[in-house]
């Protein structure tokens, strides 16, 4: 009998149906992966299983008995625990204190020793190595997640729901998490694992449920399927359309970066001596797992973040902010011909309440094209926007609605339209297709290639290796702030790059996810 079952669940938000007769079942000792693109209804479904939302129709059954959850607490009491993507931990408390929070052992006062003993016991049983007395704020993210898992186990949860657990993890931590998930499954726990990363699904799950636009479109046995099959179910058509790309006409180096060092917000050196040249007419792809210094590199090149040392020049202009002689700013870098598609369009690319027209002049408002003497000329802004909207196929084709009302893909088109419009010498695109559907992603890719062919130097930063491979003329692999190698597109292969992305040869042995191996001991 399935330990948990959803039967024909329907959830509507106004006129929008987020879950349309969704059914799933999961058994003790098995790992069920729930996959789907952003907005497919995964989170809504999980929020109903964990008591945060209530289904409009259909029912949830545990061991065959219908259940109703009034609140997350109800669900927890019935043995359903959710490990959230964003941890619900109190940083200043210790591991043990966080785990027992809300159910503290007591001897009149808080019994710290008993709490630590129980945490030790739990972590030994499930191979979740942790120091009960360590302060949570001092732990790396991977270990913080273990605290979350321990907390859920401490509540006695039989069913554990993981909401995109690997989003915040390094590859190493991801591998360790998978070992833990396997371990939990052998202890007859039911694991539900939400993700949209196909490799992880293949590596760790037993069964797969594919959601698309609120409906279940596939129920698969992992050992009998392929990433390609899952992907085509997720998007509803064949994936990875090839980009039509003529051979590059590589020109002069436009940007020269020498021994660049940049610090992260935390004061840690994030870029450790990078040398790069980006030529006109080429797309240079930076491949790497996120958080390896890409953001800092790009922010240094765009004048948003001071570099600690080294140089970066565009033609003859010094790009780096805070570099003694010239005081560079983001505005000056832009004026010099650098366009930038930031990695997070909602947070960094657009002012969402601004109209499409207003967003199309963001950063250009002082240009004589749009204002004179500090006074905006709205008829010029409007005709500018009316020219760009059809050219970039922004839908709905209106200039006077807030950008926040557009879909993700159309928001990204607004950013592209603005950034491409000034005929930049250097175009930096960071994660330009994140969260976009295939159609929109292809549109973005075509525009990038178009820019390259017009002689622009393009720096493409992407966590999607497929995207890097499809678009780049040269590929630089970044790992922990250093360039591990630079390849011409023809002479590289996915395995080689994948290897370098995780640190190269010395990590090769750990590269494959070996589920038979004993739990890794965390230092």
């Amino acid at each position: 009998m399935p330990s948990i079952q959803a039967v024909d669940i329907v959830k509507r938000f106004g006129s929008f149906t987020a879950n349309d007769k969704v059914s799933l079942q999961a058994f003790a000792g098995e790992i069920l992966a729930v996959v789907g693109e952003n907005g497919a209804g995964k989170s809504t479904l999980m929020n109903m299983l964990s008591g945060l939302l209530h289904p409009d129709d259909g029912e949830i059954r545990m061991q065959g008995t219908p259940v109703k959850f009034g609140s997350p607490r109800d669900a927890i009491e019935r043995g359903i625990g959710m490990v959230h993507q964003h941890f619900m931990l109190i940083p200043v408390l210790t591991v043990a204190e966080n785990v027992v929070l809300g159910h503290e052992p007591s001897n009149g006062f808080f019994d710290r020793r008993e709490a630590e003993r129980r945490v030790d016991e739990l972590s030994a049983r499930y191979g979740l190595k942790l120091q009960p007395r360590a302060r949570v704020e001092n732990l790396p993210v991977g270990l913080q997640q273990r605290v979350e898992i321990l907390k859920v186990l401490y509540w006695g949860s039989e069913i554990l729901i993981f909401d995109e657990p690997t989003a915040v993890l390094t590859p190493q931590e991801t591998r360790e998490l998978f070992v833990v998930l396997r371990e939990l499954a052998t202890h007859r726990r039911t694991i539900i694992f939400i993700t949209h990363k196909l490799k992880e699904v293949m590596a760790v799950s037993d069964k797969i449920i594919v959601l698309r636009t609120g409906k279940v479109v596939g129920e698969l046995i992992t050992s009998e399927t392929s990433p390609r099959e899952i992907a085509s179910l997720m998007v509803g058509r064949d994936v990875l359309p090839t980009v039509h790309k003529p051979p590059p006409r590589i020109g002069e180096p436009i940007v020269v970066i020498r021994d660049l060092h940049v610090q992260s917000d935390l004061g840690v050196e994030a870029v450790k001596g990078i040398d790069l040249e980006i030529h006109g007419g080429e797309i240079l792809g930076i491949a790497g797992v996120e958080g390896n210094g890409q953001t800092e590199l790009v922010e240094a090149l765009t004048g948003l973040r001071p570099a600690t040392s080294g140089s970066a020049t565009l033609k003859a202009l010094d790009l780096l902010a805070g570099n003694s002689t010239v005081k560079t700013s983001a505005a000056k870098v832009r004026e010099a011909g650098v366009a930038y598609v930031p990695e997070d369009r909602r947070e960094r690319g657009l002012v969402l309440p601004y109209t499409v027209a207003n967003n199309l002049i963001l950063g250009l408002e002082d240009s004589p094209k749009f204002s004179r003497g500090g006074i905006l000329n709205f008829s010029k802004v409007r005709s500018w926007a009316r020219g760009l909207v059809p050219r970039y196929d922004i839908r709905p084709p209106r200039t006077d609605i807030p950008a926040g009302n557009l879909s993700g893909g159309n928001q990204q088109k607004v950013v592209l339209a603005r950034e491409f419009s000034e005929d930049p010498l250097l175009l930096i695109a960071a994660q330009p297709t994140r969260g976009l559907d295939i159609g929109a992603a292809q549109f973005v890719h075509e525009r990038l290639v178009e820019k390259r062919d017009s002689g622009t130097a393009v720096l493409l930063v992407s966590a999607e290796l497929d995207e890097i491979l499809a678009l780049s003329d040269r590929i630089a692999v970044i790992y922990e702030g250093e360039i591990m190698g630079i390849f011409d597109a023809g002479e590289s292969n996915e395995e080689q790059i994948g290897l370098l992305m995780t640190g190269g040869e010395e990590r090769a042995a750990e590269q494959s996810i070996d589920l038979e191996a004993p739990a890794l001991v965390q230092g």
Binding site: G14, A331, V351, I401
Partner: protein, 378 residues
């Protein structure tokens, strides 16, 4: 497609007011109802109290002009707070900036012996500049040192209040303060300042009215605020930084500079409020109790007016009417003037708690215009 489309949803302040007015209006109604319960609880007749309040503020042309007079400084200081809000800044220091403006313009008024036509513009500039600089301290600290503007502008309130006291009050030895007008109090022989703002409504229309040219200054300032925010590149940057500072920075807008300038301009309007009240109303003297909390009420006015120019004007008139009508209510109904403060407090409470109103809207108990309803339902 002409002007109709140009005044798009985002920029059209009339539309903004219409769509945003539901929550403030419901808040005011709720505040009045709860205020009535308070009056009832102390054993008085709320209908009579409110009738006297209404009569005292709008019941005659004279009362109405007094309401308008009370609204003038609230409008100006309200613009100050609203402008800062548009830039994502909470300027809680309008009171201090207002006093700074009053002190500076008072100084000009005593020291410059020139004709009024010259003096008044100088005083306007002095008041604006002083208020702007006072707020600008907070702006610079925020932009380049990361000090939160709520803390700095609030602390500068106390500084301004105490500096004003020092200037206008006699010291412990009875020695006059450095700003000599304290000597003038109670001495009608010496005109306290070398110029004042003229009365703009003829006596033949409303007898003995005191409506001064500050009204025109305030309305002009309203047009200026609107123009700055919605027609200039500066206003475009101010609003962009207010809505999404990160995206603004990524696009190359100098966020630090914009933050500092926003508070600077905001303070100028508050400083102007000080100047206008000093030059517009008898006894034309800077006293220790010069501002009866205009700068603080201005925060409520801006909130109630949803940071739009029309909204601020309407809210300022409402607060002005409470202030003016309250006096009459106290005299005629015997209800304490403090009821007015209760109602003002409740208005602020309900504006702040507009979640309550949205909740009622979601239940269909209150109807909101289109976009509001979608939000409430979400």
């Amino acid at each position: 497609m002409g002007l109709a489309e140009e005044t798009s949803l985002e920029r059209n302040f009339v539309w903004q007011w219409a769509s945003g007015a539901a929550v403030p209006i419901v808040s005011v109604i709720l505040a009045v109802l709860v205020g009535a319960a308070v009056v009832l609880a102390v054993g008085e007749n709320p209908l009579n109290a409110y009738w006297q309040l209404l009569r005292g503020s709008f019941g005659s042309w004279y009362y109405f002009t007094e309401t308008v007079i009370a609204a003038i400084p609230l409008m100006l200081a309200g613009f100050a707070v609203a402008f800062a809000f548009r830039g994502g800044l909470f300027n809680i220091g309008a009171e201090g900036q207002l006093l700074a403006g009053a002190v500076a313009s008072a100084y000009v008024g005593y020291k410059f012996h020139v004709p009024g036509i010259v003096l008044v513009p100088i005083a306007v500039l002095a008041g604006c500049l002083a208020g702007a600089l006072w707020a600008g301290i907070g702006g610079v600290l925020k932009a380049w040192r990361g000090a939160h503007e709520v803390i700095t502008t609030m602390m500068l309130n106390y500084t301004a209040i105490l500096v004003t006291s020092y200037l206008v009050e006699p010291g412990p030895t009875g020695h006059p303060g450095p700003m000599e007008q304290t000597i003038q109090i109670g001495n009608p022989e010496t005109p306290p300042m070398n110029a004042t703002l003229p009365i703009i409504v003829p006596n033949s229309i409303v007898l003995n009215n005191r409506v001064h040219a500050g009204l025109l200054i305030a309305l002009g300032a309203g047009v200026l605020v609107w123009f700055l925010l919605w027609r200039t590149t500066l206003g475009y940057k101010v609003r962009a930084v207010g809505l999404n500072p990160r995206a603004a920075a990524y696009a190359g807008i100098n966020v630090k500079w914009t933050v500092a300038v926003t508070l600077f301009i905001s303070g100028a309007f508050a400083g102007l409020a000080g100047m206008v009240n000093l030059y517009g109303l008898a006894p034309y003297q800077l006293t220790n109790s010069f501002s009866s909390g205009y700068g603080f009420n201005a925060i409520a006015v801006a909130l109630l007016g949803r940071n739009s120019v029309v909204g601020v004007i309407a809210a300022a008139i409402l607060f002005g009417s409470l202030q003016q009508g309250g006096t009459i209510m106290q005299a005629n109904a015997g209800t304490s003037l403090h009821l007015v403060e209760v109602v003002q407090g409740l208005i602020i409470f309900f504006v702040g708690a507009d979640a309550v109103v949205r909740y009622l809207a979601a239940r269909g108990m209150v109807k909101l215009p289109g976009p509001q309803r979608q939000k409430a339902a979400a």
